[in-house]
Amino acid sequence: MNGERRPMIEIRELRKIYDLGAVKVEALAGVNVNILENDYVAIMGPSGSGKSTLMNLIGCLDTATSGEYFLAGERVAGLSDKQLAEIRNRRIGFVFQTFNLLPRASALQNVELPLVYAGESPSERRRRAREALEAVGLGDRMKHKPNEMSGGQRQRVAIARALVTNPAIILADEPTGNLDSKTGNEIMLLLETIYEKGNTIILVTHEEDIARHAHRIVRLRDGLIESDEVIHRAA
């Protein structure tokens, strides 16, 4: 099966320099990495090593200073704002450390949001958002607002939102960073089931325990890849 997997993400000499006028911060100093379809990668590294910067580039939220990035064979640098929006909408699901839910909207409405921008009809949106919430075990919390839910539940809503458009890639930047370890583990189990359905998952974390859920750990230091190891887990 390994031989059949196609490359999902190909990154060549990717550089990101933040120009702050007086100083230039080189957040990524020439990163090379390939991530295959249905890979489960944890990105680790000290604070400021460029993990989030790399994630944002992979997620098409930001553009690189130089280097090449191919997403499913497509050169991202050549795409328009509109095409990037479509990629974020259809191919990528984001899970943030701070959940980033709309405070005034119910769980269901939050999960519907990507479908709103996909142009789905209201009934279709509702059906799929329900499905996604049920899949993360929140079938009974659809009408709740974020401030009426626990941190773990909020993160589940965010994961449901990331899943609802059926994207190939899930990007999670410290998804357990604001959760206690028990809740964090529940979230990791959820990601595991998503991985098993065939998604590509890229995860940023500081915790070795969390990283161990992945099948591959990429370590960054000072904007460069320090190590890239495949984890052999006991089944």
Partner: protein
Amino acid sequence: MRFFIDVINGLRIAFGALRANKLRAGLTALGIVIGVMTVIMMVVIVLGLNKALRSQLDFLGAETVFVSRWDWMSNNWRDMIKRRDMRVDYIEALREESEYVEAISPFYDREMTVTYRGSSLSRVNVQGVSEEFFITNPKELAEGRIFTEQEVSRNAHVAVIGQDVARSLFPEESPIGKTIKLNGWDFEVIGMSTPFGKVFGQSWDNFAVVPYGAFQKRFSGRWADLTIVAKSVEGGHLDDMKWEVEGIMRRLRKLDPRQANDFGLNTQSAILEQFDQMTAAVYAGGIIIGFISLLVGGIGIMNIMLVSVTERTAEIGLRKALGAKNWNISWQFLVESAVICAIGGIFGVAMAAGLSKAINNFLPTYMPMWIVGVGVIFSGVVGIIFGLYPAMKAARLSPIEALRSD
């Protein structure tokens, strides 16, 4: 279909944001409310005055010319007072020589007290005319008849009265056949006109019409001033008649070609023209004031929308991360700004409607339906124009910068 769904979604998001921030939206819209109200009040008052004046002037007749010592459009009283009086015998000359005159009548008027038995009514406008006056200025009769040529030529003491006179002197009975006293002289009521109503708070039913000969004999003091009323033949010949009458009058008054007219040829349209010129200036003023107040309101909107964009930067970033295109974002803010303004417009229109009703008693106002639509749509457009920059600014935010703003 896709576009339609996007549009509806934008509306829904914008309304959600408005609902969450009702007070601020309300205060923001206040500028627009006041602006729209001001503009509409100007228009409504000008339209009302215009309408009132037109209906008031209607009784003058559209095809009638009033030949008199006085030029209604002039205020050069010192010259006009020196002019010679009009003479009744001009009427025969005009009737005979003019092709375009259909009917012609003398016209005297004077305010007097009218009495019947115990009751009396003061300040009634008593008019002395010939039977042709009922052709130049037709009156609809509720009861009775107008007077005849014979009655005019024998200076009969007969009168056609207006509704006010009838109602105050004959509250319970028909006035026809009764004898009333005009300044002490007996006149028999032979007709009663239907009501005209009020114009500028003043009744137009407070009159009595009598044969001019009787008027001359009984009431002409030094103040009686003759006006000749002539109506042109069918088919829009007012100007022809005016031109013709001017020539005949100049000859009758023995004016040589270098002398200016020493009489006025007054028409309803001349008054209206002057009024329109006047109201054009008021309109222009209203438009300028309106623009300024809407500009102020619009700047208020722009300001609040910029604040709103800044406050919701993280939300914008999130929406973009989830796939919102630039236009989805700008649409959302544009709709919000247009809706705030349109709602402001609705309130402005409503307040103008109330105010217009309230002042209608002392200042005639007229609020046509189209003004409601124009008011609301115009405010919405102001919202779009002033929302454009904040909306663009929101759309141009980079998703990552926006997300990080948290």
